[in-house]
């Protein structure tokens, strides 16, 4: 008879296994260090962990790849926390966008440094220091210059076009990487049963839309769906786009939690239930403010074809 073993809470973990863009550690030219910061996640409106590169030049997102029951051997040490963190470059406009939308409701042109302010997340003003932030605001806002000063006002039309380009680029990347996007993906096995040519364009578009929806609000996600002329899927359970599934995976996000404390006692793992591999992946809970990669792995939605 198997006795239920009580897991000791993992509180001592003080190291992390990370795969980071080379630019993060390319410190040759700079003397300031990159830093992990908490910023408002545009999709959840909660805190998430990001990284600002040296001199705030580049924003990075931090995603945790997490499978149950994994640990690391690093050299001659054991690291209990089996997560693998990915630090990848990110367009700061995604994080600036919610602030512009909010101030855009007033309908006025405003100086952007007065718009991107947040008591809860004071680091947000550093987003404007990223190399391309100011130069690319015109993708999401109308610009006016008065006396050498620039003023901006959110433009949904521009934003939709900007997001559409992102979707198109994502579709290209999905095809190039031969990533399974269709209903042929068997959630329990992840076996690629269909070749690329078997997927229709709509499968790719929906998958890409789902990925991008991780970076925008739900309202914007719906508007983008209309802009892409993709009908909203009807039956709510089976046909939710991957973006909606994050609801499942993100539910107990304790984003306010300090990320170094992610395995404190209240996170002690619950006894495993019988789950398929896909459910396991979906159930990966982001306890740390790092976004899980579940949407990327979530089984693609069955698209109702009529």
């Amino acid at each position: 008879m198997a006795t239920k073993k009580r897991r000791t809470p993992n509180i001592q973990s003080d190291s992390w296994v990370v795969i980071a863009a080379g630019s993060v550690i390319d410190s040759q030219m700079h003397d300031s260090n990159p830093a992990f910061v908490r910023l408002r996640n545009p999709s959840t409106d909660e805190a998430s962990l990001y990284m600002l590169g040296s001199c705030d030049e580049q924003l990075y997102e931090v995603k945790a790849f997490d499978e149950d029951f994994h640990s690391w051997f690093v050299g001659q040490t054991v690291q209990r926390d089996g997560r693998l963190l990915f630090v990848t470059p990110m367009d700061p406009l995604y994080l600036i966008l919610p602030y512009l939308i909010k101030s855009g409701k007033e309908g006025k042109f405003q100086p952007v440094d007065q718009v991107v302010m947040d008591e809860e997340f004071p680091a947000c003003c550093r987003l404007l220091r990223c190399t391309r932030s100011l130069a690319s605001l015109h993708h999401i806002a109308e610009e006016k210059e008065v006396g050498g000063l620039k003023f901006h006002r959110y433009s949904e039309e521009k934003t939709m076009n900007w997001l559409q380009k992102k979707v198109e680029r994502t579709v290209v990347a999905l095809k190039k990487r031969n990533i399974s996007v269709g209903e042929g993906v068997k959630s329990t096995t992840y076996v690629r049963v269909k070749s690329e040519s078997d997927y229709c364009e709509e499968d790719y578009l929906r998958y890409a839309h789902g990925l991008i929806s991780e970076y925008i609000s739900e309202d914007l996600s719906k508007a983008l769906l209309r802009h892409l002329q993709l009908p909203e899927l009807t039956s709510p359970k089976e046909t939710e786009p991957p973006s909606k599934k994050r609801k499942l995976s993100d539910k107990p996000v304790e984003a306010g939690e300090d990320y170094t404390k992610f395995n404190s006692a209240d996170f002690a793992r619950k006894p495993p239930k019988k789950m398929t591999a896909a459910q396991k992946t979906l159930a990966k809970v982001d306890k740390t403010g790092m976004k899980p990669m579940s949407s990327f792995f979530s089984p693609k939605v069955k698209v109702e074809k009529k």
């Binding site: 000791t8 993992n10 001592q12 973990s13 003080d14 190291s15 296994v17 795969i19 863009a21 080379g22 630019s23 993060v24 550690i25 410190s27 260090n33 990159p34 830093a35 992990f36 910061v37 908490r38 805190a47 990284m51 997102e61 790849f65 499978e67 029951f69 994994h70 640990s71 051997f73 050299g75 001659q76 040490t77 054991v78 209990r80 089996g82 990915f86 990848t88 470059p89 990110m90 367009d91 809860e120 680091a123 391309r132 992102k166 994502t170 990347a173 990487r177 990533i179 096995t189 992840y190 690629r192 890409a208 970076y215 306010g256 300090d258 170094t260 404390k261 990669m293 990327f296 792995f297």
Partner: protein
């Protein structure tokens, strides 16, 4: 919400002193953080066959495969130094080890390209399409 104001600095200069370490992703949770005789009891018993590695760990057969970091990316093990007393203080991590490939191990099942960790390595490439600006930037990152 004060903890949102604390940041974690990454001492990048420590990367020069960081040693390359062999990194293994083990398919079980080990309730321990700290030193272990990995090379003596684990690495030494790895059998390297044509397409897969095998090892016996606590009586279970593991099958493993080496996986390279995506192009333009580096594997880092970050370690916290001088843990602060409160969650409002800034923290600091240093690079304690670096790696350009890792070995992941499956319980019984032979490693294959549909293993989730293999697919996870697709993420950086996809992330650059989803969330970065343009091709110019992409090239810059890969340099």
């Amino acid at each position: 919400m004060s903890c949102n104001t604390s940041v974690t600095h990454v001492h990048v200069s420590s990367v020069d002193q960081a040693q390359k370490a062999p990194v293994h992703l083990i398919p079980c949770e080990i309730e321990h953080n700290g030193p272990a005789q990995v090379s003596q009891y684990f690495t030494a018993t790895i059998k390297d066959r044509k397409h897969e590695k095998t090892v016996s760990f606590r009586g279970r057969g593991l099958k493993g495969q080496e996986l390279s970091c995506p192009q333009g990316y580096t594997g880092l093990v970050l370690k916290e130094i001088n843990k602060p007393g409160s969650d409002q203080e800034d923290r600091t991590v240093k690079v304690s080890s670096v790696f350009d490939k890792l070995t992941y191990w499956n319980l019984e099942t032979p490693p294959n390209s549909d293993d989730t960790v293999v697919r996870a390595m697709d993420w950086p490439d996809l992330a650059e399409a989803v969330s970065t600006f343009n091709k110019i930037n992409l090239k810059f990152m890969v340099q």
